[in-house]
Symmetry: C2
């Protein structure tokens, strides 16, 4: 473990654990939700707002920040913490996921189409579109086009670590290649094995560089392998064997929620008990309970903040009605004349000051305030839920809490071992 | 004066005055800037934010609220104060200005083009576009099309007052017809005289209706007459002779800033000293000094909040450099690596927490937070300036303050009598 960091497991209940993740910018009590602040800001939130909602840490995107405003600029401004005026822990990703997004979106014929210069023979995997791909992967790294201006960009493990050194987050990630659920086992193996070689290079680059401002950084390795059980086991073993400070689970977690649980079940036992574990890109309520039960410590996901901006407000139930997705669309016409608070149990600015009727009106007529109030609410919800999870773990009643939140039947399904993944399902 | 309201002039310096405008929702210390919250929200600001920036009152638009969410809905929700959770004074306009905007924008071949149903012979004035106009004015009122869905709408003095009763603002406005600087004297006279008849009908509708929730409302008359000196005098006399609770100055104030000052000089002396005076739609710094000097008490304007959302941040000077428009564009490349606060003299959230480099980055990459921080800043600026104006008036040094803000030469021009308006200039 890099000096300046300490991970202390304080309680366990089954594989679930409550822990303290001490970083140079303070301690994250886990399990914890890490809010996504892509461009060095959680959309519509000031640092003061983030403190108000109980946010312990934020997650910024290296790809976006490297393109705008540039990692060198952030470094010159004293690093991400000073740049965004947030003195608590920050995570950055490696850029690998964004490269996957560009590639996968093209493969699936959605999103932007770029023209890649020069000859590139068709190949399998992300960006397998010959000259028309925005992404090209080789052993050394990835070439891609900026989503902002189409300029040619390049990421390698060494470049990703150098960028993340400049950004100066507390927790940084090794450079990896994400695969999509549409990739076959052969390509997913090729990508996972490349990711292991990139993990080694990321570690070497990390060890041969210095932390910015003298403040140490922790490097997480990323387990890949898609939804192929054997590959996930191999990848978990490979990453666990390297001297990372933390373990992240990335890439495709399968085609169903059950696949995700199964992937976690075969991955987590292979990871070192003494290191923090981060599950990338997961943030729906039932998934968090399922992942905590399998030993995940931290989560990041755009869903709570993105849904907030789309009037999807998180709550356990609405007027006694169960909400399977734990959210209600406040644009719904039935709220037009509803004088009640959105969620009478919530202490946030939206729920303590405003009626459903007003919130619905704002989502139709004044999006700036609606987005802010919605984000304040959803992050309050996430942080209160994680606080409840930690309190339950402290008292050995996590399973009971899961039943209270999910209901007996759903909780049993989520907490019991998941079925083997059927690779014959297309 | 309607019971429940009291206007007390506390000091005068020349024609400028410091006063207290007591309403059922508290006292507005004047001169004061009233922030515009078109759809029952100042864009990106919670009521708590508005209190933080020292906002004393807000100004909402009857036209917008009548279309969405509907004045009956707001009434059912307990009126604007409860609907928007703002317990301080609120102004609403009559809808006349928005109708003018629709008409003038068509006459000048900008903005939306609507198709008006039925036969309408071409006529002079707003919406003088035959069948293609979005606006048609007759003696009884105005027909227009909704900017939201093109539906046919109708406003009359009686309807405007009824809507404003439902909305329940403290200070409401008589229904008027605005003219543009492009209208000739004959049409401007016709519109002004119609406005006087509508003022009488607005008053009658006001007196024959009851305040919502038992809380009284004050009705302002609106002086029109464009930039024609004789018409302004006639209009001021006509409106002053009616039993309004306050006086508003509306419509075209001329083609130059000097025209505006001249219009105020010939209008203000005709208005009752004992009533509050509101200048509609003016909010630039030099204009506020010029108008206060001529006896204006309150102002509303979208400029400070709209500019804030466009990176135009208000300040007296930047690094010693004079800013004739009292604002700087924070998108400017020279701020990219500037670690200083935007305005070191400002106590707002933006200036006390963030660097120019970060604010510039937000305006490029994260508009939601940028708009909010910019609005917090610009409203803090406006309210601090108005507070300085009141403090100067209390000590008989308003002219000195104007010189400090505007410089000797500019202050002299703005405070001295303006030249007669040359009606021969096209």
């Amino acid at each position: 473990m890099t000096d300046g960091f300490e991970f202390r497991v304080e309680q366990k209940e089954g594989d679930a654990r409550r822990a303290a993740w001490a970083t140079p910018h303070g301690v994250v009590a886990t399990p914890a939700f890490v809010a996504v602040g892509t461009s060095a800001a959680v959309k519509s939130m000031t640092p003061g707002d983030l403190s108000t909602v109980g946010q312990q840490a934020v997650f910024a995107n290296t790809y976006h920040l490297a393109l705008r405003p540039g990692a060198d600029l952030v470094a010159q401004m004293g690093g991400l913490h000073r740049f965004m005026a947030w003195d608590k822990p920050i995570f950055t990703d490696s850029g690998g996921y964004q490269v996957f997004s560009l590639g996968a979106s093209i493969e699936q014929n959605v999103g932007k189409i770029g023209v890649f210069p020069g000859d590139s023979p068709p190949h399998r995997g992300p960006g397998a579109n010959g000259d028309r791909s925005m992404v090209r992967i080789d052993e050394d790294g990835v070439s891609f086009r900026s989503h902002l201006d189409g300029s040619a960009e390049r990421l390698t493990p060494e470049r990703s670590i150098a960028l993340q050194r400049q950004l100066g987050a507390d927790c940084i990630l090794a450079f990896d290649e994400c695969t999509s659920p549409l990739h076959d086992e052969a390509y997913t193996r090729e990508a996972a094995e490349r990711t292991h070689r990139w993990a080694r290079r990321s570690l070497d680059a990390f060890h041969s560089s210095s932390p910015p401002n003298g403040l140490p950084q922790a490097l997480y390795g990323i387990v890949q392998g898609g939804w192929f059980e054997g590959l996930r086991m191999e990848s978990a073993d490979a990453i666990a064997a390297m001297e990372f400070d933390g373990m992240a689970i990335g890439g495709s977690l399968g085609r169903t929620k059950a696949d995700m649980r199964r992937v976690l079940e075969i991955t987590m036992p292979a990871l070192p008990e003494a290191l923090p574990r981060h599950l990338l890109g997961i943030g729906e309520v039932p998934d968090i309970f399922a992942a905590v039960a399998r030993g995940v410590d931290t989560f990041d996901c755009v869903a709570p903040t993105r849904n907030a901006r789309n009037a999807g407000l998180l709550m356990r139930s609405l007027d006694g009605e169960a909400l399977p997705k734990f959210r209600s669309n406040l644009r719904n016409a039935r709220f037009a004349r509803d004088e009640r608070p959105v969620d009478a149990t919530c202490p946030c600015t939206l729920c303590t000051n405003h009626t459903r009727a007003y919130v619905r009106h704002l989502f139709k007529a004044e999006p700036l305030l609606a987005c802010r109030l919605g984000t304040l609410h959803n992050l309050t919800f996430m942080n209160r839920m994680m606080s409840d999870v930690r309190a339950a773990l402290a008292e050995g009643r996590f399973e009971q809490l899961a039943i209270e939140w999910l209901g007996q039947r759903e909780a049993e399904i989520l907490l019991q071992p998941a079925p083997r993944i059927d690779a014959s399902i297309p």
